[in-house]
Symmetry: C2
Subunit: 106 residues, 2 copies
DNA sequence: GCTCTATATGCCTTGACCGGCATATGCCAA
DNA sequence: TTGGCATATGCCGGTCAAGGCATATAGAGC
């Protein structure tokens, strides 16, 4: 329980299922327990990891806790991905250019 | 050694360093060993995981193996991320709209 | 204050994985 | 074919995380 960054957080399939579920709306812990079919302590532990990675945030309402998506974590992931995406773009540009050149030659 | 998907592959810091390094150009295993300062067997093992996740591909030249980025894996990650990105967009739209409404009221 | 509900935390076991090391494999040159 | 270089693979020990279970905490109502 040291280095809970976004990458380790989304490495776990169950946690990705939680994130997928939260896309539609915020959920109570109990709702996730029921829909995912895993134990409540387990859900709470996964939510803790997701929270530390800023992938979810909590809204406390009396004894209930509503969990919802938090943009920060996934934006971090998106930022990490960005330079790689640029490489794809460059390759596509190069491909297009190559095709253009080829057309000219015809 | 079961479920080598993109998520588990990028969960490891060393593997992310390898990917970062491969952004500039394809590399030999020995080059990665030297630049990363870790043992050769270790690099080979990480490369194997990255290969299974389609994050890198190999070009064999005699006894040498050039490793380069493979788009497929990171595109998978990008695809997983897409629906979340749409949510950000929706929220930004909603924010803009709210600001517009507020301006009108002034 | 007591109790019920909702959730979090602690302990334990098991399994996965990382790193180090030794060794195997594959390819080339002489 | 023998030797040497580049890389992969197998084994081992330590570590860490996931899941199950029991239990602690916190709020709401009586």
């Amino acid at each position: 329980m040291v280095d809970r960054d976004v990458f380790t957080a989304i490495g776990e399939p169950t946690r990705r299922r939680i994130l997928d579920q939260l896309r539609s709306r915020e959920c109570l812990v109990g709702e996730l327990v029921e829909s995912l079919g895993i134990s409540q302590p387990n859900v709470s532990k996964h939510l803790r990891v997701l929270d530390q990675a800023e992938l979810v945030r909590v809204r406390i309402d009396g004894p209930r806790r509503y969990y919802a998506l938090d943009d920060h974590g996934l934006r971090d992931l998106d930022a990490w991905l960005a330079p790689f995406r640029e490489i794809w773009a460059d390759r596509l540009d190069a491909l297009e250019q190559h095709l253009d050149e080829t057309n000219k030659e015809d």
